[in-house]
């Protein structure tokens, strides 16, 4: 991939300063920065909530928080981590990097882009406001149903459920707007010569994610709207007394909920191979195979939803179908794992922080995937369902597979975005602390789940005490070591060694042809890709 020169337009672009710059910006880099900053803040908000949970679970019995508050914390933790931390992080990268990677001057719909971002802070406030209101005696706190909103509990719940429903509506609108923008950008704004099959893999991952979002977010929006009308307007979608069926909510929710997993992961699967090829100093292996795997996973993801509630009751043929189709997802994933490993094979590898995170990511995400196969087995799931085994499994996929992947991306692109190198030593310390404490947090939870400890319960039997203690201590180490991450980012923004244009010796792609940091307006004349 060779390119023409970069247009050095004006580095000192005209834009309002101060708060008005950020409120009114339509610049993809500014908006990307806002998404990433918002995501980082919410990562700590959600993290603080779960540390409250882990503190309570440090010992059996009830010590610190009452069960109602415990229930609220787990649900809001999940919603914040998924919708306000992971998804905005991926959207932030999309905004920053997709125009740079495809040689476009900006996103296709910049004003929509601004709106998409500014819907996020209000929805985060909606989610967490009931906590504050409860302190003043209004309502009984936030959503206490877990993030899944299952009726009849969510129909009976307090105002926290209504707040969460409206928050989900806003978050949904925001991510759908972001997706439409990305699809239009990718289809219409690519540099001349860049065919779809020449797009960087990150762009491909996001394209599939965006289509999945457009297809499934409305189903979630519909489901929570039905919940809202059941609560306040006398409908009986999920009320058995009125001819409805609470299990139908589970179908609707997971029709969105399962693709959501791949919505969170596809952007990461996109840039991980780019990091691998950079630090292995050889082109990625199996680009086409990975693109086709993305398609396969995107298609399979919408037809496997019922494996989330095998125990809710289903005819045996349906159980078998959902079991086999779920297991089939491991085939395209295996192709991707093979491609990742083959990319590193015989490469001249070096282990800077992004590469450390990436290699650690492959191993830990692999564990998440394999334990998922255990849960996909109907017979095994009858035992493991709703246990800590499930909790450990999805944290291996979403913390290791999601957030650690995002961290790899942050370290990879931070020098490009800020123009400075981050502190490499601190980055490595951050990686090792994160990887070790993450495993110490969640490996005990696998054992707890196998031994029968149910999730979402503030108390537990005495025989689970030791593993919970280990898990809680490690969770606090994991949480506190993320402060290193923030420190490293902040110092990198403020200054440090100048980054070169290419930043990394083996970096390939259009974004590395621009100066670091890229000018406010880049690619005002599109480069040509051969």
């Amino acid at each position: 991939m060779s390119t023409t020169t970069v247009a050095h337009h004006d580095d000192h672009a005209e834009h309002p300063t101060g708060i008005m710059r950020w409120l009114t910006t339509t610049n993809h880099k500014d908006i990307g920065t806002m998404y990433l900053t918002f995501s980082l803040i919410m990562f700590f908000v959600g993290g603080a909530m779960i540390l409250g949970i882990r503190a309570e679970l440090f010992q059996p019995g009830l010590q610190l928080i009452n069960p109602e508050f415990f229930n609220q914390l787990i649900g809001v933790h999940a919603l914040i981590m998924i919708f306000a931390a992971l998804m905005p992080a991926a959207t932030g990268f999309a905004n920053w990097m997709i125009p740079l990677q495809i040689g476009a001057p900006d996103m296709a719909l910049p004003r929509l882009n601004n709106w998409g971002f500014w819907l996020l802070p209000p929805s985060a406030i909606l989610l967490t406001l009931p906590f504050t209101l409860a302190m003043f005696g209004i309502g009984d706190g936030a959503l206490a149903t877990g993030w899944t909103f299952y009726p009849p509990l969510s129909v009976q719940g307090g105002i926290g459920v209504d707040f969460a429903i409206f928050a989900v509506h806003l978050l949904g609108v925001s991510s759908v707007l972001g997706s439409i923008n990305i699809i239009v950008t990718l289809f219409n704004m690519r540099a001349p010569g860049m065919t779809l099959m020449k797009m960087p893999l990150f762009a491909w991952g996001w394209l599939i994610t965006a289509f999945l979002l457009v297809a499934t977010i409305p189903v979630l929006a519909g489901a929570v709207t039905m919940l809202l009308t059941d609560r306040h307007f006398g409908t009986h979608f999920f009320d058995a007394a009125g001819g409805g069926d609470p299990v139908m909510f589970q179908h609707l929710f997971w029709f969105f909920g399962h693709p959501e997993v791949y919505i969170l992961l596809l952007p990461v699967w996109g840039f991980i191979p780019q990091i691998l090829e950079t630090f292995s100093r050889k082109p990625m292996y199996g680009y086409k195979a990975q693109v086709y795997s993305f398609w396969a996973i995107g298609a399979l993801s919408v037809v496997v939803w019922a494996h989330h509630f095998f125990t809710s009751g289903m005819p045996v043929p349906a159980l078998l179908y959902f079991m086999y189709s779920t297991m089939a997802i491991s085939l395209p994933l295996a192709v991707m794992f093979f491609c990742w490993i083959k990319t590193m094979w015989k490469g001249s590898m070096s282990f800077e922080t992004p590469m450390l995170f990436t290699v650690g990511w492959i191993i830990l995400f692999g564990i998440g995937g394999l334990t998922g196969l255990v849960l996909a087995d109907v017979a095994a799931d009858a035992q493991y369902h709703n246990s800590y085994f499930v909790v450990a499994h999805f944290h291996y996929t979403l913390f290791a597979g999601g957030i650690m992947g995002i961290m790899a991306g942050v370290y990879f692109w931070l020098p490009k975005m800020t123009g400075h190198m981050y502190n490499e030593k601190l980055g490595k310390v951050h990686f090792w602390l994160t990887a070790i404490s993450f495993n110490l947090t969640f490996i005990p939870q696998f054992f707890l789940g196998l031994a029968g400890m149910p999730r979402r319960i503030p108390d537990y039997a005495l025989q689970f005490a030791e593993f919970n203690m280990i898990s809680s201590v490690a969770a606090f180490v994991l949480g506190l070591s993320q402060l290193l991450f923030v420190y490293n980012i902040v110092t990198c923004i403020k200054g440090g060694k100048k980054a070169t244009d290419q930043v990394w010796e083996g970096a390939q792609g259009l974004e590395w042809t621009l100066p670091s940091p890229p000018p406010y307006h880049s690619f005002t004349e599109q480069p040509t890709v051969k």
Binding site: N188, V219, G222, D239, A240, A241, G242, G313
Partner: protein, 190 residues
């Protein structure tokens, strides 16, 4: 192709805007389609449930008394469980916990409900059958669950269920559970 020709008179910037608008419009249609699909899933789900017995629902009206012959060659055990949902101050239980019968044989089981409150309360019993695949084979001739039940303060009422199990019951089903959950009625006016 016609669309491209129409673009030729426009500047590249205008062409791009036009292309973007068209794609956005298509994507908005897709969005609307998914939203409609979400609401269409409600009736689709009901139809699927009726076909497969997915949610163990039985027909909510009296079965026609078929001239079915009693299948004396096998037995089926029907167990009864009852629940009272929150907000209904009733006691509710079956007089017998299970019954062993031949498919095709008509039986009557008495359920007892007592209003423990000092108000008139209207309730509605919702049945569910496990395994779901057998739901279509439990035929009710007369059931208290077909209509709302109103109990005066302190009133106790014996309510019959007359039913049979269809001889078409799959041969591998020898046990089934009929569960009744009594809900506060949601349509008291009717």
């Amino acid at each position: 192709m016609a669309k491209i020709n129409e673009c030729e008179t426009l500047s590249p910037k205008q062409q791009l805007d036009l292309k973007n608008k068209r794609l956005v419009r298509k994507l908005l249609w897709m969005l609307l389609g998914s939203l409609l699909f979400a609401f269409a899933l409600v009736p689709i789900y009901d139809v699927l449930c009726e076909m497969t017995g997915l949610n163990g629902k039985t027909k909510n009206s009296a079965a026609v008394l078929a001239e079915a012959k009693v299948d004396n060659s096998r037995w089926v055990t029907v167990q009864f469980t009852t629940n009272v949902m929150p907000g209904l101050g009733w006691n509710f239980y079956p007089k017998q916990s299970s019954i062993k019968m031949h498919p095709g044989q008509i039986e009557t089981v008495i359920f007892v409900a007592k209003n423990t409150t000092n108000q008139v309360v209207v309730g509605r019993a919702i049945p569910s059958i496990t395994p779901g695949i057998a739901a279509a084979n439990l035929k009710k001739i007369e059931c208290f669950c077909f209509v709302n039940q109103a109990l005066k303060p302190g009133e106790e009422k014996e309510m019959p269920l007359r039913f049979f199990v269809s001889p078409q019951l799959p041969v591998d089903v020898s046990d089934m559970t009929l569960s009744y959950a009594f809900f506060p009625s949601v349509d008291e006016g009717k």
